[in-house]
Each structure stands twice: as structure tokens, then as C-alpha cells.
Symmetry: C2
């Protein structure tokens, strides 16, 4: 099982680098839940999760993964990135199902100033990508 | 090595439950660095790290660890807790040295509203515990 999850984490890394929507689409379960670092209420379903994760990889600059943990069917991926002028640290907490698809994706960010900047940048990115 | 780190993580759990300063003192290296979820600038050294971690365990209510990861000399401990009326999620990213002492302790919290409430509650708790 660890090998399957590690292979899926590698695919996630490829998505972050290549920003290839097909890789992301194959990774996510239909019923995936996205838990934003900014808001408590989760976003439910594949379509909205793709919107948020695609916006996130466009907003973060100089994105770099640091310590990585894989245990049971979950991964915790520490990262460092820039949001505008600010450097932030963060973690992706990713839960996979038994087939290796992502069913829960939770993100935490520090510090507070960087989280606020990310919230603003994400809102702008989402509005540009999904004009009403 | 995993066994040593797992044993140290168990001691950390005991500190969270019992709030026994002697347990915390034995866990921390003299040169430990504390990275707050709220501020970017790290707090350096054992004395100030004890202040912050002791204040944190008093501020959080209904504290509960969820998924836990131990890999190499590090641990990532997901938790849920209440800060006043708000529920927050968080993660402790703990780096141990080769003797199993904690040399780096980083905390991330979501969502933004809970992080703001935590910042205010921590400032109050630190002021009460360390009157000038």
C-alpha cells in the first residue's frame, strides 16, 4: 500500500511542477473534499477541488516541498513558497482511498500575514479563471 | 530510530494531557526553535519555547490528535481543538535530534478566523503567565 501511495504522491508532485490538469483529474476521487487553509467550510466534489488546487499552483511562486511523510493511506507534505512578496510555510494533508485516489485534501499555512495574502490572491485567481 | 522517536512522541502526548512542565523540559533541546502559526519570526531557545508551548496547551480546549506521521527524525501530528467558541484544525511539525530531543517545533492552524482567535488568546495567556 505504501508503494501505491508513494507513486500517487509522485504524480501529485508532477501536477505541481507541470500544472497538467489531466494528472490532477486522474488523482482525484469524484467525492473528494477540499479543506481550505482560509475557510472552515469544506468544498465538496471534484469540480470545485480542481478549481481550488489549479488556482493554488498558479498563485504560489518558488514552490518547494520539504519534509514529506507517508503513512497508511495518507501523506503530509511540508512546503515553502512565496505569495507576492511574502514567504509562507504550509502543509498538504492528503488522504487517499484504497485505490490511491485522493478523497480529502487539507491545506494549512503559516504565518497569519501570509495566510491573509494567500486568501486575497486566491480570490483574485479564482475570479479570473472562472469569470461569471 | 523510529522506536526512539515514537517513544518521544508518546512523551509529548503525556505533556499535552498532564501539562507537566518536567516532561516538556526533558523533551526540548537547549537550542530548540519554536515557529508560531501566527508570526514568521522564530522564537529561539528552550525558555521561550517552554513559555509558548505551555501557554498553547492552556489555550486549546478539547484537544485531540488525529492522523499522526513519524518518519526519519520527525513527526507530523494533526489535531483538532477549540479556541473559545471556534473549532480549529492544526498540525505540529516536530524535528528531533539524534538523541530524540526536540530541536524544531512548528505549528500551523486553519482556518484564518481560528488562527486570529488563537493569536489573541495566546497573547492574553502569555501576558498572564509572565506579568511584567
Amino acid at each position: 500500500m505504501a508503494t501505491l501511495i508513494e507513486a500517487q504522491v509522485e504524480k501529485w508532485h508532477r501536477f505541481v511542477v507541470e500544472q497538467d490538469g489531466q494528472i490532477l483529474d486522474a488523482l482525484l476521487a469524484e467525492e473528494v473534499v477540499f479543506r481550505s487553509p482560509f475557510l472552515w467550510k469544506p468544498k465538496e466534489g471534484k469540480a470545485v477541488t480542481i478549481q481550488y488546487l489549479s488556482a493554488a499552483v498558479r498563485v504560489f511562486k518558488n514552490f518547494e516541498y520539504l519534509r514529506e511523510f507517508v503513512q497508511d493511506n495518507a501523506a503530509a507534505l511540508e512546503f515553502k513558497a512565496q505569495v507576492g512578496e511574502l514567504t509562507v510555510k504550509g502543509i498538504d494533508l492528503i488522504q487517499f482511498d484504497q485505490d490511491g485516489q485522493i478523497i480529502d485534501f487539507e491545506v494549512m499555512i503559516r504565518p497569519a500575514s501570509g495566510l491573509q495574502a494567500l486568501g486575497a490572491a486566491m480570490a483574485k485567481q479564482l475570479a479570473e479563471a472562472n469569470p461569471s
